[in-house]
Each structure stands twice: as structure tokens, then as C-alpha cells.
Subunit: 406 residues, 2 copies
């Protein structure tokens, strides 16, 4: 096995959300009969249930009508669109100095594109990278692809309230040991917890003290439940501006994933590198698609509030169902559309359970092991689904788990 074989073995995408169709299911048996009900794919949100921001397709069509100028933008994206997005993000984050559209912002093919470009611009062979466990599964894969060394930081999400639960002592030790980059999602994926004001201030203070670069993935920061406070790391003005990149995008709450749009803003030096890398990765975010960004942060009055309340209501129903069944442990989502419950003891493996859920109950969930090898008794669901279908699917999920309960 050569070094590329090894590298790509670690990049396994088989259990990644959306790849279930590539599984070979011939060897899977399950107890009892198939459970009937509308199939629900909890591995990602259902954009048919929560549809894209109104008039986004019109914005795309307008982009096509603009023609060549919209098709061939700078690699970092159309200047007009960047100016508009920079202004909106300045307002949203409440940062004191305006984000400079020329120097400090790049449009990317989704937030995944932003993460890849940001990591490719900051991580090289042997670099120590601190990542939270659990956190978005691609963070780990990206460090491995760029041959960095992962330094895991615990998140005690399940026992904690009022804060995310990051182990700050561990973070400080990691930074002392020479970590070059810290990457984390806030709100956290997969748990849906928000880092508190204190946690953000402490992270920023440590990063500044030890000169650590930080990538903050704030993809879900517009979908905050129960009126909780959300603190943007870079708006704290604690970390040197050249040492922070923030990532956002309209793929989740705004349901624009099919357009592949994201944005990274922060360090001019890193944004420059990201553009150079973008030039060889895929040239630019699809030109016509960029025009859709005009509709972001320009939703109709009340649209976002309503969407947040609808998700909150689904969350509440799913959590009461899970808590009513014995053995599940779950911390309520504070932001975003994820739940990351712990399972009761069952007599099959997590991998088998995931398959049984899919085949017997028509319910797709993402195994916890995607977020850290220790999460062998957790699973993630994205509850941005048709409300009634999600509730029925959780009923079926609970029924299956109870059948395999030890």
C-alpha cells in the first residue's frame, strides 16, 4: 500500500451523509417486519420541507442575464456581490471595523469549499492542529489530507449547561505544545451547542497569547433558539485580525445548498492564499450562482423568525419523544438543526443499527463515529424536515432501538 492509498483510506466517505446509496446491503438482516412510514433522511436537511429563500431562482436567472461579467468573476468572487456580502456581515456580526470587501472576503463553493481553502492555506505537513471532539467530521479529514497532526480537545457537551463545555485547560496545554491552528464550529456540529461569551473570550485570549491561527465555522449562527446570545469570535477584537478566518453560508437555515455558496472573511493574507488555491481548485464559485447571494440576509420580513420557531418546535417534539423512551441522553439544541443523542445499551453495533434503521424503518441517521472514533453510541440527526414526518421517523427509530435494547 503506497502513501496515497493510506491517505485515501483515511478519507473514507462511505458513511458520510448522502452516500448511503453506494452501500451494499445484501448482508443485513433485522428483527421483525419492516416499519411503514414516510422515509426520512436525517443525514441532511430537507429542502423540500424548508424551501430556499423566496426569489433565489429569480436572482440566479438575473445573474445569467448579466452574462459574461457574471460568468467570469475574479477568483474571489464578483466585486459587487462581495461589497454587498461584506456590508451585511459587518451588520450581522456587529464588528466595530467594517469588513473590507477587497481584502478580507472570498466567496466559496459552499462552506465546505471555504473550509478546504482555509485549511489548505494554513496547514502543512506536521503542523499541529487542535480540533474539538466532537466536531464536523470534515475537520479531521482535512487535517489528515494536508498531513497535519490532530490534537483533540474535549467538549463535555452532554453534562454541561450554559456553556458549550470546551476543556479550556486542554486547549491551553495544546497551544503551549505548539499548535499552529485551532478550528471549531460554533454553533457546534453535531451537538447544536453554543459557546458562551466567557468561552469565546477565553479561546480568543489563549489564541492571542500563543499566536495561534483560528478558523471559526459559524455556518449555523443565524438559527439561534430560545433567544440565546451568540458571540462572534472575530468581533471581540481580541485576536490579531491576521490570525482569524470566519466561515458562513446560506446552505443550511436558508436551504440554498443546491447552489453551493459560502463565504470566508478575515485575515487578508489567508484570504489571498485562499484565492490562489481556489484558482487551481475550481477557478471560482460558479459565477451565476454568486448572484444568489443578493438574497442572503435580505429575506422577507419575518421569514427567518418563522423558520427558527418552526425548527424549535420540531426540536421540542423530538426531544420529548427521546426522553420519554428509556436510556437516550440528549442535550437540547441551542442553535442549528442538529441533535446528537446518546443511545441506550444495545446488542448490535452502531454500524449495524444505522443499517437496520435505514432498511427496516426508512430512517437515515449519521453514525457518531463520523465525529470522533469514541462516539460509538451516539448518532446525529438533522431535524430540518417535515415536522410530522420527523416525529413519525423518531417514533420508528425509538421502536427499533428498544427492540435491540440490552
Amino acid at each position: 500500500m503506497d502513501s496515497l492509498d493510506e491517505k485515501f483510506l483515511k478519507l473514507g466517505a462511505k458513511n458520510a451523509p448522502g452516500q448511503e446509496v453506494r452501500h451494499n446491503d445484501s448482508a443485513v438482516n433485522y428483527k421483525g417486519k419492516q416499519l411503514t412510514g414516510t422515509p426520512v433522511d436525517f443525514s441532511h436537511g430537507d429542502v423540500d420541507a424548508f424551501t430556499p429563500i423566496p426569489d433565489t431562482l429569480d436572482a440566479f436567472n438575473d445573474g445569467v442575464r448579466i452574462g459574461g461579467e457574471q460568468a467570469y468573476t475574479e477568483y474571489r468572487g464578483s466585486k459587487t456581490i462581495r461589497v454587498d456580502v461584506a456590508r451585511k456581515l459587518t451588520n450581522f456580526t456587529g464588528v466595530s471595523t467594517e469588513i473590507n470587501a477587497d481584502e478580507n472576503l472570498i466567496l466559496t463553493p459552499g462552506t465546505q469549499g471555504a473550509l478546504f481553502l482555509a485549511m489548505g492555506s494554513t496547514v502543512t505537513k506536521g503542523d499541529k492542529v487542535a480540533i474539538v471532539v466532537p466536531d464536523y467530521f470534515a475537520n479531521r479529514k482535512l487535517v489528515e489530507f494536508f498531513e497535519g497532526e490532530i490534537v483533540p480537545i474535549e467538549l463535555d457537551y452532554i453534562k454541561t449547561t450554559e456553556r458549550a463545555g470546551i476543556n479550556l485547560n486542554q486547549l491551553e496545554d495544546a497551544f503551549k505544545s505548539g499548535v499552529k491552528l485551532f478550528i471549531f464550529s460554533n454553533p457546534n456540529n453535531p451537538t447544536g451547542v453554543i459557546y458562551s461569551q466567557d468561552e469565546i473570550r477565553d479561546i480568543a485570549t489563549l489564541a492571542q497569547k500563543f499566536n495561534v491561527m483560528v478558523i471559526a465555522d459559524e455556518l449555523y449562527s443565524r438559527q439561534i433558539f430560545d433567544g440565546k446570545e451568540f458571540v462572534h469570535l472575530f468581533a471581540q477584537n481580541i485576536i490579531d485580525r491576521d490570525n482569524i478566518i470566519t466561515i458562513m453560508g446560506p446552505s443550511k437555515t436558508e436551504s440554498l445548498s443546491g447552489y453551493r455558496l459560502g463565504v470566508a472573511f478575515g485575515s487578508a493574507k489567508i484570504i489571498d492564499r485562499m484565492e490562489k488555491l481556489q484558482a487551481i481548485v475550481s477557478l471560482r464559485t460558479a459565477g451565476y450562482n454568486q448572484a444568489v447571494m443578493k438574497k442572503w440576509f435580505a429575506e422577507p420580513e419575518g421569514w427567518m423568525d418563522k423558520r427558527i420557531l418552526q425548527h424549535q418546535a420540531i426540536r421540542d417534539d423530538l426531544i420529548s419523544k427521546l426522553r420519554f423512551s428509556s436510556g437516550f441522553e440528549v442535550r437540547p439544541t441551542e442553535a442549528g438543526s442538529y441533535l446528537f443523542p446518546k443511545l441506550p445499551n444495545i446488542d448490535i453495533s452502531l454500524e449495524e443499527l444505522v443499517k437496520v434503521l435505514r432498511l427496516k424503518a426508512s430512517v437515515i441517521v449519521t453514525p457518531g463515529t463520523e465525529f470522533g472514533s469514541q462516539f460509538t453510541n451516539s448518532f446525529r440527526i438533522n431535524f430540518s424536515q417535515d415536522h410530522q414526518s420527523a416525529v413519525s421517523a423518531i417514533d420508528r427509530l425509538i421502536k427499533v432501538v428498544e427492540e435491540y435494547h440490552k
Copy 2:
């Protein structure tokens, strides 16, 4: 300077097509007065002059109407679309065994996306990679990004007729010296020459003999002039099927660059790796955009023939203008929309000339040095432009060059 600084210095995108807006022009002076005329950006094709395949926007809108299924495809792209594209490429290339849509094909964000994924799946630190000089500038940058070692292969395009002019002895020596991968564009970018049947057979025979992986970038293989023959490397059945990846896409002749669509087909092992890499690079080719592939190879009767003849006519006019002026050397384009003329001796540098052309004559060209450091007296133009504007722009270009003629 750390190793990432060095790496990104080599990735400079400043002189790349489309990035001219980011230049600081304060220090540029030029002889005489500004020349008037419609500005022409020869760095890429003008999709307002040669518009996208009819009804592509309808196909996109249909994709959006499909909804979630089209937004969240497998990372390698929608199965329906892959089946359709595989069938069309089987017919187009005349390969004897049908291309398998499940195992041997991936949709990518443009052909640039395909190149990046293919190189990232085959090149690791220290690997020797043979690249043709001149060839598409990103080939060199990709090898550098993945820390391979470039082994240059000469293309004597300007003195040669009836074949592209690749130095096969040099290629054999390179393969003997342990080259792992050979990447080349056919038709060649920037010269527009086609590799002959003999050249393709010899390349294939050498690659097979020395077990070298080959990436063939055939982006321009539908736009062939003067009824010339075009031979698809992989359809020769000489190279082991696991050792070849072919890349195509509708960004050029079909003017769909604003949608960022491409395709790679070949080795199942490499396509698998490319999908894993795609999963962390940007998840997938934008879902709705994939639907546009339905219109590829399904153009209205006569549409492609007409487009080819229109480009051939522009080529002929530009070449006679260049040849009428003393000192230019140019080989006529055999396929695609590029010309790569050699300049007469001038008393300013190529970099200065490119700036003067832009500021004095409103003509943007790509400096030859993007395609190899030795091409200090060549430039590339993409003549997929409004016919009359292109002719006037070449008149202005010739006038400027004559003013600086030694």
C-alpha cells in the same frame, strides 16, 4: 519565510486570466495616445458573443424544481445525470466498452475541478510528474501544490506540421527515470494543436510499457477545425484502464463556464479517490447546476457545426492580420479557441507589453510565461469573441507591438 509562504508564492494567480482587475497600474507609462475601440478580453472567451447552448437555463430551472433530490446528490454527482453523460461520452469517443456511470465517472466543478481532484488523487510529495511545455498553466501549479517534481517535455509546436510536436524521446527518458504521472491537454492549451494518431499511439505505448498514469485533458475536443482527425487516448485501448483519466466539460465551446461543470472518466480506483477528495473540497458539483448537463451533447441540429465554422473564420482573419505584420510567428489553431503567437523583438518586457496593451489598447492577453518560464516572447489569446471586435483588437495589438518593435 515558512514553507506555506513559499508554496503560495509559487501559486501566484496575479497574471492568471481574469485577475487583471487586481493589478496596480499607477506605474505604467506608454508611448503615444490611447487607441480607441471596443475593449476585448482575450484572456477567456466572451460568452456574450458566443452564448450558452440554448435552453440551458431552462434545464437549471427544472433542476431547482426537482428540489432536494437534485440539491443533495451523491458526491460524484446525480446518478441520472451520470448515466446520461456516460452514454453520450461513450458515443462521442467511440470507445469499444461502454463507460460505466457507477464506477468510472464523476461530475466536477468545471474541468479545473476535475484536474484538481485527479492530481490530488495521484500526486504526492516527491512524485515525478511529466508535463508538456507549453501546456495549461494550472498543470504546473497543481504539481507544485501537491509537492511533486516537474519533468518538462518539449512541444515543438511552431516548427511542426501534421503532428503536435511532442518530443517522444524526452518522454521515454522521463518515463524511464521513474515518472509516475503524465498530464497533457489535447487539443493543447495554449497552442491549439492536436496530437496525431501516431503521437497518441506512441504516448499510450510508452505509458503502458512504463506503467505511467495518464491524465488527458480533452476540454476542447469538440471544436475541431478543417475536418481534422481527433484521437481519444483512452479509446485506443492500449493503456490499462486503471491507468487513465480523461477530462472534458462544457465550459468552452458550449459557453457554460458560469455553471462550473466538468466530468472525469476512467480508472475506477482514481474516480473513487476523486470522490473522497470532492467530499472535503466542496461536497459536490452544485446540485442544481448538474441538471444543465442534460443539454450537453444535445445541442440543436447544426448548432455545433455553425459555432465551429464561426470560430474558424475568426481564426483565419486574426492569423492573416498577424502574418501580414512583420515578425509575428504563429501556427494556425487546429482545435479550440486559442492562438499562441510569438512576438517580434520589442524593446519592453512581456510583462510591460501586456500592461500597455491593456491600458493603451484595451486589449487583454495572457503572457506566455504563464505556460512556461521560457515563453517570454509569446502570448495567448482566446479568440472566442465577437468577430469584428476581435479583428479590431488585433489591429490595435499589432499597432502597439510595431511601436515597440526594435
